[in-house]
C-alpha cells in the first residue's frame, strides 16, 4: 500500500505549536507530531513540576468520544476494564487488548455523562465516554474501537469519533492554586451540577466547566506523580487558555514543560509508557498491571489469552535503582552483577532509564526473568560495556508526600 516514493507526511502540529516556537522550545518529532521536548532545561522543568508547577501541551494525545445507548456495554467488550461500573465523571486507567492478550494501548476512560443524566435512570438515555489514547496509537485505537462495534453476535449502537480537542496539563503542588487564581479572575468556572470545586475535585474525577464561556472538561489526572489537572478545550480556544494559565501561574513558579521532563517525571512515578514498558507482545500481568483486566465480566477482546496467562518464565517488569551517575537506558541489557571475570550474563532488558533528578541516582524500569524480580535482588545494567551495579526496588521510585 505504501508508496516509498511519496515523502512521509509532514509533522502534525497542535494548536499551541506557534506558542512553543515563540517561547524558544526545542521542537522534535514525536509520534508524527512536532512537539516541544524542552523550553529551557529539562531538569529545571522536572524540578519545577515537583516543587511548583509545570504546563504541558499534550494535545497530541487522542481524545476519542464513544457515545450511544450501548456505550457502556461496548466499552466492557472492547476494553480490559469494567467501564460500565464508572460513576458519572469518574475516570479509570485501562487498556485495549489484542485477541492475543497483548496491549494495543493504555488508556484513560472517563464517563462523561452528568449526574443528572445518570439520575434519570432512563436505560435509553444516551451515555458518553471519553477515551484518551497515546498519540502514537491514536489512529489504531480509533480504528479498533470502530471495528469492535460489530461482533459475530451483535452490533453495538454507538458512535466513535476523534474529538480533535486540545489537551493542556497543569501539574505540580501549585496546580490547584493556579487554577483557583484563574477562577478568581472570573475566567474559569466549574458547572454547579458537577457539585465539585477545584479543592474537592478528587483524583481521577472530572468536572465540566467553562473557560471564558467556552465549554471545557477539567480532570484531576496526570502523568507526573504530582497533583494536577488536565483540561480538554476546543482547539480554537487552546491558545487563550494556555496564555491565561501561564500568566496566572507565573507568580506561583509555573514553567512551560516539555516532553523530556514529562518522561522523567512519569518514570520516577513508576508509570509505564507505551512502546517502552507496554507493547503488543506484553501481557498486562507481565507489566504488573494484571489488576487492570477484569476477567469476571462477559466476553471481551483478549479474554481467553488473559485467562491462559503468560508463560511462567515470561519476563516481568521491575524497577532497578543503580549506583553512580550513569543511566541504564532503553534497550541496554540487564546483567547479573560482574563476578570479576568481566563476563556479563544477560538476564533482561531496560525499557526506560534516566539519572533521576529527584533521587540523584539512576533509575530504570526493565523486564527480567521472574526469579530475579524480588525486591532487593542484586542486578546490574550493561552501560556500554560496564556493569553498573544496582538492585531491584519497589515501584514507584518516587511518591509525593501527601498533604495532611
Amino acid at each position: 500500500m505504501t508508496d516509498p516514493t511519496v515523502p512521509s507526511a509532514p509533522l502534525l502540529r497542535t494548536p499551541l505549536h506557534d506558542l512553543h516556537v515563540a517561547a524558544g522550545a526545542t521542537m522534535v518529532p514525536f509520534a508524527g507530531w512536532s512537539m516541544p521536548v524542552k523550553y529551557t532545561s529539562d531538569v529545571a522543568e522536572h524540578v519545577a513540576v515537583r516543587t511548583t508547577a509545570g504546563l504541558f501541551d499534550i494535545s497530541h494525545m487522542g481524545q476519542l468520544s464513544v457515545e450511544g445507548p450501548d456505550a457502556a456495554a461496548f466499552l466492557d467488550h472492547a476494553l480490559a476494564g469494567r467501564m460500565s461500573a464508572l460513576a458519572p465523571l469518574q475516570s479509570k486507567y485501562t487498556m485495549m487488548l489484542a485477541p492475543s492478550g497483548g496491549i494495543v494501548d493504555d488508556l484513560i476512560v472517563t464517563n462523561t455523562h452528568t449526574p443528572e443524566a445518570a439520575a434519570s435512570r432512563d436505560p435509553a438515555a444516551p451515555t458518553a465516554y471519553l477515551v484518551v489514547a497515546n498519540a502514537g496509537n491514536r489512529d489504531a485505537v480509533l480504528a479498533a474501537l470502530i471495528e469492535r462495534t460489530t461482533t459475530a453476535e451483535r452490533t453495538f449502537d454507538v458512535v466513535v469519533t476523534d474529538t480533535h480537542r486540545a489537551l493542556i496539563a497543569v501539574q505540580g503542588p501549585r496546580a490547584q492554586a493556579i487554577l483557583e487564581g484563574l477562577a478568581a479572575a472570573g475566567r474559569l468556572t466549574l458547572d454547579a451540577s458537577s457539585g465539585a470545586t477545584l479543592a474537592d475535585l478528587r483524583y481521577y474525577r472530572s468536572a465540566p466547566g467553562a473557560f471564558d464561556g467556552e465549554t471545557i472538561t477539567l480532570s484531576r489526572t496526570g502523568y507526573t506523580g504530582e497533583d494536577g489537572f488536565e483540561i480538554s478545550v476546543a482547539p480554537e480556544r487552546a491558545v487563550e487558555l494556555w496564555e491565561a494559565i501561564s500568566a496566572v501561574g507565573a507568580p506561583h513558579g509555573l514553567v512551560l514543560a516539555g516532553l523530556a521532563s514529562r518522561d522523567t517525571l512519569r518514570l520516577e512515578a513508576g508509570m509505564p509508557l507505551y512502546g517502552h514498558e507496554l507493547s503488543l507482545d506484553t501481557l498486562p500481568a507481565q507489566a504488573g498491571l494484571g489488576r487492570v483486566v477484569v476477567t469476571a465480566k462477559d466476553d471481551f477482546v483478549g479474554r481467553e489469552a488473559i485467562l491462559a496467562g503468560p508463560p511462567a518464565d515470561a519476563p516481568v517488569l521491575v524497577g532497578i535503582a543503580l549506583t553512580g551517575r550513569r543511566a541504564g537506558r532503553a534497550d541496554y541489557p540487564v546483567v547479573l552483577p560482574d563476578g570479576g571475570d568481566g563476563a556479563l550474563e544477560r538476564v533482561g532488558t531496560v525499557t526506560s532509564g534516566v539519572l533521576s533528578p529527584t533521587l540523584g541516582h539512576p533509575i530504570a524500569m526493565a523486564y527480567v526473568a521472574p526469579h530475579l524480580a524480588e525486591i532487593g535482588t542484586a542486578l546490574a545494567v550493561d552501560v556500554r560495556g560496564t556493569a553498573v551495579p544496582g538492585e531491584v526496588v519497589a515501584l514507584p521510585f518516587y511518591r509525593r508526600a501527601k498533604e495532611s
Binding site: 543511566a327 534516566v354 539519572l355 556500554r384
Partner: protein
C-alpha cells in the same frame, strides 16, 4: 547567537581545540552543550593513553542522551580535567572555560582537518 572564540580550532563533532606548542586542549562547544542539556557524567581518557585522531576516546552523558568524544588529534593524553569527576556539569555550563576536557601531547600537529571558528559557525548554522 553566541560568538565562538576565534583563536580556537573546531571539529565537525562539536569539539574545540586550543593549540599551544605541541599541547592541544580539548572541550565541547556551546552548541554541543546546548544539545546535551545538563551534563551528568563525563568519561575521559586516562593520562598516558595513546589517542588516534578521529577515534572515540570518551563520552559525555546528560539526563537525556549520551554523546561520544572523538580525539581531534593523535597523541598522548597529558592531563585530564579532574574537576569534572565531581562536577561533570561544568562541561556543559562552562564549556570553553572550567569545563575543558583533556590535554594531548600532539605527535604531529596536522591541523588540516580542523575547522576555523567561521567555518564551524557556518556548519552549526546549517543545522538549525
Amino acid at each position: 547567537m553566541s560568538t565562538l572564540p576565534a583563536d580556537l580550532s573546531y571539529t565537525s563533532e562539536h569539539e574545540w581545540v586550543q593549540i599551544e606548542g605541541d599541547l592541544a586542549t580539548v572541550g565541547i562547544t556551546t552548541y554541543a552543550a546546548d544539545q546535551l542539556g545538563e551534563v551528568v557524567y563525563v568519561a575521559l581518557p586516562a593520562v598516558g593513553d595513546e589517542l588516534t585522531a578521529g577515534a572515540v576516546c570518551g563520552e559525555v552523558e546528560s539526563h537525556k542522551s549520551v554523546s561520544e568524544l572523538f580525539a581531534p588529534l593523535g597523541g598522548v593524553v597529558s592531563e585530564v580535567n579532574a574537576s569534572l569527576e565531581g562536577e561533570p556539569e561544568l562541561a556543559g555550563s562552562d564549556p570553553f572555560g572550567s569545563g575543558w576536557l583533556f590535554r594531548v601531547q600532539v605527535h604531529e600537529p596536522d591541523l588540516g582537518h580542523l575547522l576555523s571558528a567561521e567555518d564551524y559557525q557556518a556548519q552549526v548554522d546549517a543545522l538549525s
